[in-house]
Subunit: 387 residues, 2 copies
C-alpha cells in the first residue's frame, strides 16, 4: 500500500500532538516528510527524530543560528516564507495546517493551489482570504478539510448530500463563562475572570472569544465561506456539553447531527483515514452516561457577536477580515485593562462600520489590500483608546 | 414531469392519513391509483373520490355485499388475497404498505418481487419473513423504505455511507409508562394503567409493547433484518423526548444522529420525495425551545425484552416469528387479565425456548412453515393459562 506523505505546519502545538499520535498508532500508513514550529526547537527536533523526518521548518529565524548544533542533521527551512518549499521539494499528500493567527496568510495562499489535501486549523486566514482562497483551491483541485470540531462536523454531515435540500445549518457553542450573566454584570468582568474556560484549557485569546461569542461569530463567517452558506441560513446554539458540534436541517424538517467527544483526534482522523474507518476506541460516546444534552438560544441582545459577524458577511470584501483583526486588537486591549469586557464587541462593530463608511471596501481583496486595511484599523484602535 | 403512481394498502389508518395529506399538498406530483381498507368503507370511498382513485380494495368481504350501492362506481378488489392484483393491473411506482399485524404476510411476500418502491410500516411481516422477504426484494430490485421513525432514521443516516466503517447502531425508545418503576411495582400493573402512553395516543397492543420494551426488541429484530446488522452491534436507549430516533457510531467514535419531530409525515416524505427536498415548514425542530434531550440506559435486568429479541436472532430461522407471535398472544392474555404484566415477556421467553427445544427450527422457513409454527405456539399458550 502507498504510504501517505504528510507535512505538519505548526507541529509542536496541540493539533500537531494529536496528529502525530494518530500517525504513531498507524505508522504503516504514513511518512512524516515535514514538520515546522515557531519557537519550540527542542520539541521539534525530538519529534522529527522519532518520525524520521529530515525536513524541518522554523519560523523564528534568530533561533536557528543559536541552535546550529542540534539542527545539523536536518534540512532546515528558515522562516515562514520558506515553508512552502517543503512541499515543492517532496512528494506530499496531506498538509496539516495548524499555524494560528494571521501570520501564515501568504503561506496558506501559496499552498492553496498545491493540489494537495489540506487539513485546516486556522480560522483567521480563511476569514481574511475568503473566496480568494477557496477559488484558488477549487481551480487547482486542492481539497480543504476543516479541522475544528464545528466545521469538521458540517464537513462530515454534508458528504454525499444534496446541498439544495438543506434549509439551515447550526453550529454549537459551549457558551463560554458568562452566557448566563446579566448585561450589567458583563461590564465588570476582569481579564482574570475571562481567561479561564469552564471546560477546556485554551489560549487566552480563544477563551475570551468564547466568552464574547466572537469565536462563534468568526466560526459562522468561516462556515459561510467554506461551505458557501448564505448568512441567514446558519446559526449558533449554546450547548454546554459540547457533544453535538454541528447540525444540518433539511427542507423536510429532519435534521442530521454530528456527535463526538470534544477531541481533535476525531476531526484529524477524518483527513488521515477514509470513511471514518480508523478505530478510536478510547473516544466512544456513552449517551446513557452523559444523560442529558442541553441547548440554550443565544441572547442576541446581550451578545451581539453573531449579528455583527453576519453584517461583516453582508458587507463582503474586506468586512470579515476587518472584523477579525479589530477583534484581535480589542481582546489585547481588554487583556491590558484598557477597555471593558463589553467594549470588545461594541468596538469591533464600531471599527468595522467606520472602516466600511470611510474606505473603499474592495470586493475581491488580495493580500496587500488586506494588510493595508489592517494598518487603517491599527490607527482606529489607537485613536479609540487615546480618546 | 412524470407523476408518480401510488397505491396505499391500509389507507384509512394514520399512515394513510399522513400519506394522503402529503399528496394533497403536492397533487401535481402524484396519482393515487389504489386505496384499500379493512372495515372503514365510508372513509375509503370518501378519500377515493377526493383523489379520483377508481381502484379500491376491501379486506372484509362481508362488508362489500352490504355496501354495493356506494361501491358501484369503483373497481373493487375483494379480500386481501386480491390486493396484489391492484399492482399488476396498473402502472405503479410506489406502494405504501400500512396494513398492520401478520394478516398481510402473503400479500407482502407477493409484492416483494414487484420491483416497485415499497414504503413499509409493518414490523410483524418483516420479523416473520426475515431474509426471505429481503432476498426476494433484492433479486427483483424492489426497494424497501422503512417508514417507522427509528428504521427510517437509520435508513436515512446510512444513505451513501460505508457500512464497514460503522461500529454500532442505536435506536431510541420513549421508555413507555413504567421505565422508572421498580420490578416489584411492575408486577401489579393493570391493563387500564398500561394502555395509556405518556406521549402518544396509540393502539393498545403497541402501547403495551412500548411499556414492556418488547416493541423495541421487535424493532431491533426488524433493524437487524432490514440493514443486515449483527445483533451485538445494535442497541436501544431510552430517550423520553423522542427527538433523536436513531444513531450510527463510526469506528472513529464519531456519531451521526437523525432528529425530527415525532411525526410520520417526515418518514413518509422520504419515500415520496427525493433527497429530503419537500418543504415541511410546520415540523421544524427548535432545540432551544426543547431545551434538553435526555438519555437513560435500559435496565436489562428489569426489562428483558431486548435480550430476548437478540436471542431470537441468534436462534435464527423461525425464532423471531415465534417471539413476535407469542408476544401477540401474551399481550392479549394480559389485556384479558389472564396473566400479569411481568408475565408477558417472561412467557415470551419461555414459549420461544420451548419451541426451539422441541421443534425443528427450519433455517429458511416459508410462509407455511411460519403458519405451522403459529399453531404450535397457540397450543403452548393455551396450556400456559390452563395450568
Amino acid at each position: 500500500m502507498h504510504k501517505k506523505n504528510i507535512i505538519i505546519y505548526g507541529a509542536t502545538g496541540s493539533i500537531g500532538d494529536s496528529t502525530l499520535d494518530l500517525i504513531r498508532n498507524n505508522k504503516d500508513n504514513f511518512n512524516v516528510v515535514g514538520l515546522t514550529c515557531n519557537l519550540n526547537i527542542s520539541k521539534l527536533t525530538k519529534i522529527s527524530n522519532e518520525f524520521d523526518c529530515k525536513n524541518i521548518g522554523i519560523a523564528n529565524k534568530e533561533l536557528i543560528s543559536q541552535n546550529k548544533t542540534v539542527l545539523k542533521d536536518f534540512i532546515v527551512f528558515e522562516g515562514i516564507e520558506e515553508f512552502q518549499n517543503m512541499i515543492s521539494n517532496h512528494h506530499v499528500d496531506i498538509i496539516i495546517f495548524a499555524i494560528s493567527g494571521s501570520a501564515p496568510l501568504k503561506l496558506l495562499m501559496e499552498i492553496s493551489n498545491s493540489g494537495k489535501t489540506i487539513g485546516l486549523a486556522n480560522k483567521e486566514c480563511i476569514i481574511c482570504l475568503g473566496n480568494l482562497f477557496l477559488k484558488n483551491a477549487s481551480i487547482s483541485s486542492t481539497k480543504i478539510v476543516p479541522l475544528d470540531s464545528e466545521h469538521n462536523a458540517l464537513y462530515q454531515l454534508l458528504k454525499n448530500k444534496n446541498i439544495d435540500s438543506i434549509n439551515k445549518y447550526t453550529i454549537t457553542a459551549s457558551g463560554g463563562n458568562f452566557y448566563k450573566y446579566k448585561y450589567s454584570d458583563l461590564i465588570n468582568i476582569t481579564p482574570e475572570q475571562a481567561v479561564t474556560h469552564p471546560k477546556w484549557k485554551m489560549g487566552k485569546k480563544i477563551t475570551i472569544d468564547s466568552s464574547t461569542l466572537m469565536n462563534k461569530g468568526l466560526e459562522i463567517i468561516e462556515a459561510c465561506i467554506l461551505f458557501n452558506i448564505e448568512p441567514n441560513k446558519i446559526n449558533a446554539l449554546i450547548h454546554p456539553e459540547s457533544i453535538i458540534h454541528g447540525l444540518v436541517e433539511f427542507k423536510d424538517s429532519s435534521m442530521h447531527a454530528f456527535l463526538s467527544q470534544p477531541n481533535m483526534k476525531i476531526s484529524i482522523s477524518s483527513i488521515l483515514f477514509d470513511n471514518n474507518n480508523v478505530n478510536l476506541d478510547n473516544h466512544r460516546l456513552d449517551l446513557g452516561a452523559i444523560k442529558s444534552l442541553n441547548f440554550i438560544d443565544i441572547d442576541n441582545e446581550k451578545f451581539k457577536a453573531i449579528d455583527i459577524a453576519k453584517t461583516s458577511l453582508d458587507h463582503g470584501g474586506l468586512g470579515p477580515a476587518i472584523l477579525n483583526y479589530a477583534n484581535e486588537l480589542m481582546v489585547n486591549l481588554f487583556l491590558n485593562k484598557k477597555i471593558l469586557f463589553t467594549d470588545i464587541v461594541k468596538n469591533n462593530k464600531y471599527i468595522m462600520n467606520q472602516f466600511i463608511r470611510d474606505n473603499n471596501n474592495i470586493k475581491n481583496p488580495n493580500i496587500n489590500d488586506i494588510i493595508q486595511a489592517f494598518i487603517i484599523i491599527d490607527n482606529y484602535a489607537s485613536r479609540l483608546i487615546s480618546n
